[in-house]
């Protein structure tokens, strides 16, 4: 089979994986090697669906022993199958990397024979790439659930980031749709990776030459909309993963109808929940950078995120007693709670305040966008001049601002400038 055909089949099979970031690690180049990585990550292109292309995202093989209903590569699906040889994939990666097409390799694989054999093949490929080709760029590898812990460990020593896909947000859904995978089989490598990362960090403080295990951390992804879980359930799970497994990122992937299985939404009338995915990412951002907890965003009477406005606005409208926030005196935490004020804006406000009292005019010059923030801020005790809105009308105004954006299908896999955590 020609390399072109293999690339087509194996990129096509990998495209439903949402993660494509190259962030979280800064490593300079070294003479005799090829490549470096940067902490902010780097997008090399954006595909027609608006998602960032940072890594060469392919499967090593799409020949799969499993039969997960939601997956294009399931055993029972009639699609062309192919496999890269380790050398082919190395040549391709180096060829693309030298031309600055990509930031590195995202290596995933279907389960060929069994988890151990698949992981061994991945290790073989990455060893060749790192050792013989001297590749110093970014490598994101998928750990295969069920593989021997020693093999997963070797995989982590060759990669910058590891991920284990949690696939579906609950155990029942997993049992129903992915009969070959068990929740424990997914969570145990996650825990192993977490411990290896912590151990490697610890060793590095003692001697510089210690081997680095997945220095850019681990991530996971789950499919949204194929199964009936609520946003509250999904975000609680996410929060648990951040707290207990120290994940860098959780990715959400709106389910694309790739199957006729009776267990899944029928492909004919199904529209992928792109807006819901977008709102989940926004809430995810609140958890990671804005010190929010899921319990604040959603509760039993509100199990799902409001599609009309972003989750921070929803929170603000339910807590009007917290507002208005006084720009001249509020602390960082309070500023972060204001809709429309992000991490950067809040930091800039703190900096600018050291030089003198701020005005709304000054805020605009700082680069703070007042479109949403104006309803929740005062400067020297006064609201923005000319702003007359009754508190019960704010939701309408905020929703109206978003509407033109919502008419088109939603963007987002906010990966550009994915900040270091």
């Amino acid at each position: 089979m020609e390399l072109m055909d293999k690339l087509t089949i194996l990129a096509d099979a990998a495209k439903y994986d949402a993660a494509c970031t190259s962030s979280g690690l800064s490593r300079g180049g070294r003479p005799g090697k090829l490549g470096s990585t940067m902490a902010s990550g780097c997008c090399h292109s954006f595909s027609a669906d608006g998602r960032c292309i940072s890594l060469l995202k392919v499967l090593l093989t799409n020949v799969c022993a499993y039969d997960c209903q939601y997956c294009v590569n399931r055993r029972s699906n009639d699609v062309p199958r192919a496999s890269f040889t380790p050398r082919e994939l190395c040549e391709l990666t180096i060829g693309f990397y030298r031309r600055n097409y990509i930031e590195g390799l995202f290596l995933s694989s279907a389960v060929l024979r069994d988890a151990d054999y698949t992981t061994e093949r991945m290790i073989e490929t990455l060893t060749l790439l790192r050792r013989e080709y001297g590749f110093g760029g970014y490598i994101h590898a998928k750990a295969i659930p069920g593989a021997d812990p020693l093999l997963t460990h070797r995989l982590g020593l060759l990669s910058d980031r590891l991920s284990v896909n949690i696939e579906l947000p609950s155990e029942q859904s997993l049992a129903l749709l992915a009969p070959d995978k068990a929740k424990t089989a997914i969570l145990s490598p996650m825990a192993q990776i977490r411990d290896s990362i912590a151990h490697s960090r610890q060793e590095l403080t003692q001697y510089r030459g210690a081997p680095r295990f997945a220095p850019a951390g681990q991530s996971t992804q789950m499919i949204i909309g194929a199964t009936p879980e609520s946003d509250r359930h999904i975000l609680s799970l996410t929060q648990g993963l951040y707290d207990r497994y120290q994940l860098k990122r959780v990715f959400y992937s709106a389910y694309m109808p790739v199957s006729n299985s009776r267990l899944l939404p029928a492909p004919q009338s199904f529209r992928p929940p792109l807006l819901r995915e977008h709102r989940l990412y926004q809430a995810d951002w609140l958890l990671r950078f804005y010190h929010f907890r899921v319990e604040e965003l959603l509760d039993e009477s509100h199990p799902d995120l409001d599609p009309r406005v972003d989750p921070k606005c929803t929170w603000a409208l339910r807590h009007m007693d917290f507002f208005p926030v006084e720009v001249r005196t509020a602390d960082y935490e309070a500023l972060l709670r204001v809709p429309g004020v992000g991490v950067k804006s809040a930091r800039r406000i703190l900096t600018a305040r050291r030089a003198g009292p701020l005005s709304f005019e000054g805020l605009k010059r700082l680069g703070v966008v007042l479109k949403r923030a104006q309803y929740f801020l005062t400067c020297g005790g006064k609201m923005l001049d000319g702003l007359r809105v009754r508190p019960d009308r704010i939701l309408g105004h905020l929703a109206a601002q978003e509407r033109p954006m919502l008419l088109q299908t939603m963007p987002e896999q906010l990966s550009l400038f994915d900040p270091v955590t």
Binding site: E2, L3, M4, L7, A11, D12, Y16, G29, R30, P31, G32, K33, L34, G35, S36, M38, C42, C43, S45, F46, S47, A48, D49, G50, R51, C52, S54, L56, K57, R87, E91, L92, G95, F96, R98, R99, N100, Y101, M256, P257, P272, L274, R348, T351, A352, R354, A355, G356, L358, S359, G362, L363, R365, L366, G367, Q408, T409, P411, L416, F417
Partner: protein, 267 residues
């Protein structure tokens, strides 16, 4: 400001600009305009030609860190690379304000003079970041060559990134807008003016990789999520002209196999 206004003519270099700052303080004159050989201006104000003087420039350069702050000096240095309209006046106003306010000028982000320079530098930094990703190289007989068409002068800031990324490669990046090029050969580099540059004809292997990349680019997109506006906001169209995925190679002359050419792989 009660200083008399004059129009400065200098050689367009950073050190020339710093000499202008020196002269303006010595003669107590405020600049009304700056004229360079690249960008000549006709002004009604009296003209003062300034000859670039490294000693004076150095004195101003050191004073920026001492009298304002080291980060203010970095801001001025970067500000000189931006494409902001009247960037010399912008810089001069910032320096004037900085000398008067000292360290506080560094964090007075809501002052119009500081905000204007900050904004210009943000634009520069943002463009640099985008070009780190969007720049494309072609392998021409072992030398990597790429072209860019930036608004700001990004080469000095791209240099550390690409030199670290390809320590053992020989490469060249040509800036069409400012007609200069970054050369990297055997671990040493130089940024030199270059009037004209055209990429040579691509060989078969190069065409092969381009075709593979284009195929990967179209394959990786999910049809059900197509969103051209989202793509355009992340990757504005003005960058597309340098990107392999939006270009097509001229057809291979008759008698030779049409793409995709097989890549030679050692076994």
């Amino acid at each position: 400001m009660s200083w008399t206004q004059v129009s400065y003519t200098y050689d367009g270099s950073f050190s020339g600009f710093l000499t202008c700052v020196y002269e303006s303080y010595r003669h107590k004159e405020a600049p009304a305009a700056f004229s360079t050989p690249e960008d000549p201006r006709i002004s009604l104000y009296p003209e003062r030609p300034v000859k670039s003087d490294p000693a004076k420039a150095r004195q101003v350069y050191l004073s920026l860190a001492r009298k304002i702050s080291p980060s203010a000096r970095e801001l001025v240095t970067l500000g000189f690379l931006t494409c902001a309209e009247e960037r010399e006046l912008l810089l001069w106003n910032y320096i004037w304000y900085g000398y008067a306010r000292g360290r506080a000028a560094g964090y007075d982000l809501s002052d119009p003079r500081v905000a204007a320079l900050e904004k210009a530098v943000r634009h520069l930094r943002n463009e640099v970041h985008l070009f780190k990703g969007f720049l494309r190289f072609s392998d021409l007989d072992g030398v990597l060559a790429g072209e860019i068409e930036p608004k700001n002068r990004v080469l000095p800031l791209l240099r550390p990134h690409f030199c670290a990324r390809y320590p053992d490669e020989d490469f060249l990046i040509y800036d069409r807008t400012h007609r200069e090029a970054l050369f990297h050969q055997k671990g040493s580099w130089a940024i030199l003016p270059l009037e004209q540059f055209t990429l040579g004809e691509a060989k078969e292997e190069e065409r092969g990789y381009r075709a593979l990349w284009r195929r990967f680019y179209t394959t990786i997109s999910i049809e059900g999520r197509e969103n051209p506006r989202c793509r355009m906001s992340h990757m504005p169209k003005r960058y597309w002209n340098i990107m392999t995925e939006f270009q097509e190679d001229a057809p291979v002359p008759a008698g030779r196999p049409v793409s995709p050419p097989p890549l030679s792989l050692p076994t």
